[in-house]
Each structure stands twice: as structure tokens, then as C-alpha cells.
């Protein structure tokens, strides 16, 4: 089993479009959408959902007004200011720590399990796909990311699949950390802008912190050649493999509107040829050719 996680630090650099295009190059893989907060890969994959499961992401405190004596201990203990002066819990602020529930002297607080989203196993024209939808304004996106990747591993083990292709979330926080542990490598999709480089550098630092090999490519490289060169230089300095560049191409958006990837719609375009070269270079990396235990 091998896993490649597509990340970017900065949002909107082309992670999902690239992940979808890569799906065309492998016949022995499973897709995994680890951007559970704002998942988009399904828009290009037309997944046929085979299994749908609730994500029980945590617990939420609820005060029973009949038992509550308004002693105020919960207000004093709650570090998240989730208990209002009216002795009601603000579900948006509640962290699910259960301190009020455990320590209420009147046992007046319930702590039911909450459903924070759903996750799916689907069939697509490229192979199986595991994806999810975090409920609106819910917590625990990191836990749902971990769950989606674990379920993908179960399918890999059962069906002897070679590769997991994971579309990751933006940023460098909780869901990103959850998306990259145990991966063979991460491919960072950078854009040649001042902010793109800033965000790439922080993500590369995170990968180094967790000792995950990083590979970088530049999307829309022709937007700013100086910045593209700066990314190449940064990669060299940080000892990160540079996998290549993709030109700006309106056909990425055009393909998106058709619900397809760019390899399906414009296979011979400059962008498609560049994407294929990057794929070949990434898959030839030593880090991508180590069998990971599940």
C-alpha cells in the first residue's frame, strides 16, 4: 500500500483539479477526499454512493432545567464560556470536554453523542472513493479526516489496492496534520505568488516536523516567472523534490463545469502533458516506492 496526499497550504491552488487528473493515470487506486470541511472532489467524480454512515464526532452538554439548581459550578468550570448566564449551553462554543457533565453536583447535565457529519464509500469511473461531509459549523474535522483515511485503508487491505490518492485540506492545522500521518509523501501544489510561497514554506516546515517527505509542483507557473523561480530555489534549499510546472489553462475550469478532469476533456493540452510529467516524476520518487504497512 502506498499513499500520496495532495496539499497546498494556501487554498485554491488546484489540489482537487490535480488529484482528479491523477486519477486518470492509475487503474489500481482508491480516491480519498480528506477536505471534509469544503469537499469538492465529488463534483468531478460523480460518485455513486454505496454506503453512507453517520459520523459520531463527539458529545455535547445539555442542561436539564428541571434538575438544575443554578449553583453556577458549570459556569465557573467551563473554560470555553459555553454556559450562558441563563444556564443554557451554547452548542457552538461547547468543546465537548464533559467537565460540566462529570462534575455537576445535581447530575443535571446530559452529554449525548452528536452526529457531526456523514461519510461515504462510493464507486466512481476511476475506482472506489471514500469521502465525507462535515456538518455545518461542527468541530472535529481532524477526527473525520482520520476516519476517512482509515476507511480507505480497510478497502485497500480487502481489495489489495496499490495506491491511495488523497485530496487534502488547505492550511497547516488540525485537519492537515490528520491528513498526512503515515503517508508515503505529500505533493504540495504551489502557486507563484508571494502568498503562495509564504504558505508553501509553512507547509514544508510542517511536513519536516512530522518527517513526511515533501514534493512540490507549481500550478499557473506562467502567471509570475520570478516567483516560480523563487519556489524552485526554495525547494532546492529545503531539499524538497521539484516535480515540475503546469501552465495556466482555462480548460481546468471548463473541465470542472463538465464534471470531468482535464485529462478526460483536453488530453493533449499543454496543461495535461505537464500534469502527466509531474505524475510520472512523483511516482518515480523513492519515497513513493516504499510499501507502507496498514
Amino acid at each position: 500500500m502506498r499513499e500520496l496526499v495532495i496539499l497546498s497550504g494556501k487554498g485554491g491552488t488546484g489540489k482537487t483539479s490535480l488529484t482528479a487528473a491523477f486519477a486518470s493515470f492509475s487503474s489500481d487506486m482508491i480516491l480519498c477526499d480528506a477536505d471534509v470541511d469544503a469537499a469538492d472532489l465529488h463534483l468531478l467524480m460523480a460518485p455513486d454512493i454505496q454506503q453512507k454512515t453517520d459520523f459520531q464526532g463527539g458529545n455535547e452538554a445539555i442542561i436539564n432545567p428541571d434538575k438544575c439548581t443554578r449553583c453556577g459550578l458549570c459556569i465557573e468550570l467551563c473554560r470555553f464560556d459555553a454556559v450562558k448566564s441563563t444556564f443554557e449551553i451554547d452548542p457552538i462554543e461547547c468543546e465537548g470536554c464533559g467537565v460540566c457533565y462529570d462534575l455537576c453536583p445535581e447530575k443535571a447535565i446530559d452529554f449525548p453523542v452528536t452526529t457531526c457529519g456523514e461519510w461515504y464509500i462510493s464507486d466512481t469511473r476511476f475506482g472506489p472513493m471514500v469521502h465525507a461531509r462535515l456538518g455545518i459549523a461542527q468541530e472535529n474535522s481532524g477526527r473525520l479526516v482520520a476516519l476517512v483515511r482509515q476507511e480507505a485503508r480497510k478497502i485497500v487491505q480487502k481489495n489489495k489496492i496499490d495506491l491511495i490518492l488523497t485530496d487534502g485540506p488547505p492550511g497547516i492545522g488540525c485537519p492537515v496534520i490528520a491528513s498526512m500521518g503515515q503517508a508515503n509523501a505529500i505533493l504540495i501544489v504551489a502557486e507563484p505568488t508571494i502568498s503562495g510561497i509564504h504558505d508553501l514554506a509553512r507547509l514544508a516546515q510542517l511536513a519536516a516536523h512530522f518527517k513526511i517527505p515533501a514534493i512540490v509542483c507549481v500550478n499557473k507557473y506562467d502567471l509570475n516567472l520570478d516567483q516560480t523561480k523563487a519556489i524552485k530555489d526554495l525547494a532546492k534549499e529545503k531539499n524538497i523534490t521539484f516535480a515540475g510546472v503546469i501552465p495556466f489553462d482555462k480548460n481546468f475550469t471548463e473541465s470542472m463545469i463538465q464534471g470531468k478532469n482535464i485529462i478526460e476533456t483536453y488530453e493533449n493540452s499543454q496543461a495535461s502533458i505537464a500534469v502527466r510529467k509531474i505524475w510520472e516524476k512523483v511516482m518515480a520518487q523513492p519515497a513513493m516506492n516504499i510499501e507502507r504497512l496498514i
Binding site: 497546498s8 497550504g9 494556501k10 487554498g11 485554491g12 491552488t13 482537487t16 470541511d37 469544503a38 469538492d40 463534483l43 463527539g58 458529545n59 468550570l77 473554560r79 457552538i92 468543546e95 465537548g96 470536554c97 464533559g98 467537565v99 462529570d102 462534575l103 462535515l134 455545518i136 459549523a137 461542527q138 468541530e139 474535522s141 481532524g142 485540506p169 488547505p170 492550511g171 497547516i172 492545522g173 488540525c174 485537519p175 492537515v176 496534520i177 502557486e191 507563484p192 505568488t193 508571494i194 502568498s195 503562495g196 509564504h198 504558505d199 509553512r202 516546515q205 510542517l206 516536523h209 512530522f210 502567471l223 509570475n224 516567483q227 482555462k250 475550469t253 470542472m256 463545469i257 464534471g259
Partner: protein, 296 residues
């Protein structure tokens, strides 16, 4: 007034709108970059930073001389941050949510709290524009406490512009809750529309007035406009899909500085937001009182 600039999808132009809006206003305005995982506003505004403070969160510190290994701390911790095995107790600071449960429940008074650094907040200015941003320490996961700390620095006398992180989960909520207005920046593509609808659902839960800015207008299709019309959400500004603008952005420059006619467009955007907020304040909607309470 607090205007939060959000999007659902990343890379749609939140920072572009936030920084250009702040720069166009020029004074009595404070930018608060709450995308603490990947803060970018400073790259465009180039502020002079005057103060830096660490954002810390407490983590348990066990006094093993007092500990009786009763496991009560392990049982109360929902985050798996304390393990007691036989006569050994281990803490996992990176899993700790700083709820204080372990300390509250310990019968031996054996738990004190130690500080863990989650990140930092820097404050400064660009001319008459006040500047605040936060930065999550690489490897840390708890971004909401940093965002909440930035939010405490909102200045009621000024227009506070929040540059929010992408997504719809806890960090985004922390950056939008209690705002007077949420400005949603989107692009007219299927991904832009899909994530916009998620962002709108989030705002509906928080009950905040909102409007849309379409960035890269001309790219993609017309579905975002149709959606906005159907939902009755005003489109307050369109920034065209233009290579010149993209290049200005790529160099870390402000559109309003390089293409001056945009200044009036951003000022017009602000007037529209102000009118929407004021009109709402005049109508006796009960939520405004709740929202005021949430702001503090």
C-alpha cells in the same frame, strides 16, 4: 463595526478584498488577519510590527509525589491527553484542549498547569491603518484560541476587517461569530459555488447579514449569480478575471495602488455594507441584541 471576510473555498480572494478594502478606507480601520494557519495580509500591507505576544494555553503538569494513580484525570479527559498505566502517568500535550477537567477532578491536588505556546499575535500599523494578525506555531493544532484572542482586540471606534480562514468548521466560526456583516468572496466556478453554499449555511446558523463579492468574474459560468438571486443574497462587487490583477496579486501588491480606479469600487463596497448594516439596525430584529452579547 466588524466585517468578517469569508469564503468556504480557499484561494477565492478573501485577503485581496480584506487588504484592499482596509487600504481604501485608509483610517479608522483595523485589519485582523484570523487565518492563523496561513496568514497573508501582512504580505500585501507590509505593516510595521510593534508588539508581539505569545498565545498560550494551559496543559497539565503532574506532581508525581502527590499522584495516587487513581485514574480520575484519565477518565475525565475526552481527548486522550492523559494515560495512567500502573504507577506511571503520561501526558500528551498536543492532544490537550486545555479544558482543566483533570485539575478540577484530581482528589490529591497533584495537577498544576503549565503553559504551552500555541502561536503568537503581532500588532502594528500601516500609516493610519491598525494591523493585527495571529500565527499558529507549526505543528500545533489549536487555532481557535488564537483567533478568539485576536477577536478580543476589536476596537469599537473603528471598522474592524477580519480576514477569515477557509472552510466551515471551528476556526471559521471563531472568525465570523459576533460580526456585524459577513462578506463572502467566491469565484464563479462549480467549486466556488459549492463551497459558497456551505458558507451561507454556516452564516444562517450564526444569523449574520451577508453579501457576496464575485472574484474572477467572467471565468466559469453564471451559476453563482443564479444561486445568489434565488437565495436573495446581494452581490456587492465583481472583480473581473484579469491577468493584470492576478499579476499585481502575485507580486504581493495592492490592486488599489496599482490600478487606482479600484479605490472607488472598494469604497462603494464599504458604503453598501454600511447601509445594509444600518438598515438592519433600524428594523427591530431581536437577534441584534443577542449578537451584541456574543461580540464581547
Amino acid at each position: 463595526m466588524i466585517i468578517s471576510i469569508a469564503s468556504g473555498k480557499g484561494g477565492t480572494g478573501k485577503t485581496t478584498v480584506a487588504t484592499n478594502l482596509a487600504f481604501s478606507l485608509g483610517k479608522n480601520v483595523q485589519i485582523m488577519d484570523c487565518d492563523v494557519e496561513e496568514p497573508n495580509s501582512h504580505l500585501f500591507l507590509k505593516p510595521e510590527i510593534r508588539e508581539r505576544q505569545a498565545v498560550i494555553a494551559p496543559i497539565p503538569l503532574i506532581n508525581e509525589f502527590k499522584c495516587s494513580y487513581c485514574k480520575k484525570c484519565m477518565e475525565i479527559c475526552r481527548f486522550g491527553a492523559i494515560a495512567v498505566v500502573g504507577k506511571k502517568i503520561i501526558t500528551f500535550p498536543e492532544l490537550c484542549h486545555s479544558c482543566g477537567g483533570c485539575m478540577a477532578v484530581c482528589p490529591e491536588d497533584a495537577i498544576l498547569e503549565n503553559d504551552r505556546e500555541l502561536g503568537e499575535i503581532e500588532t502594528g500599523s500601516i500609516g493610519d491603518i491598525s494591523f493585527i494578525h495571529g500565527r499558529l506555531k507549526v505543528g500545533q493544532v489549536m487555532s481557535p484560541p488564537i483567533i478568539k484572542k485576536i477577536r478580543t482586540l476589536a476596537d469599537k471606534q473603528m471598522v474592524n476587517i477580519i480576514d477569515a480562514p477557509p472552510g466551515t468548521s471551528c476556526p471559521v466560526i471563531a472568525a465570523m461569530k459576533g460580526a456585524d456583516f459577513v462578506l463572502l468572496v467566491t469565484e464563479p466556478t462549480p467549486f466556488g459555488l459549492h463551497d459558497l453554499t456551505l458558507a451561507v449555511e454556516t452564516i444562517k446558523i450564526l444569523n449574520i447579514p451577508h453579501g457576496i463579492v464575485i472574484n474572477r468574474a467572467g471565468l466559469g459560468n453564471n451559476d453563482v449569480k443564479e444561486y445568489a438571486k434565488k437565495e436573495g443574497i446581494p452581490i456587492l462587487m465583481e472583480i473581473p478575471f484579469d491577468k493584470k490583477i492576478a499579476q499585481v496579486y502575485s507580486r504581493g501588491e495592492l490592486i488599489v495602488e496599482k490600478i487606482p480606479e479600484y479605490k472607488d469600487k472598494f469604497l462603494d463596497l464599504f458604503d453598501q455594507i454600511k447601509n445594509l448594516v444600518n438598515n438592519l439596525a433600524k428594523s427591530p430584529v431581536k437577534d441584534i441584541a443577542d449578537k451584541g452579547a456574543a461580540t464581547k
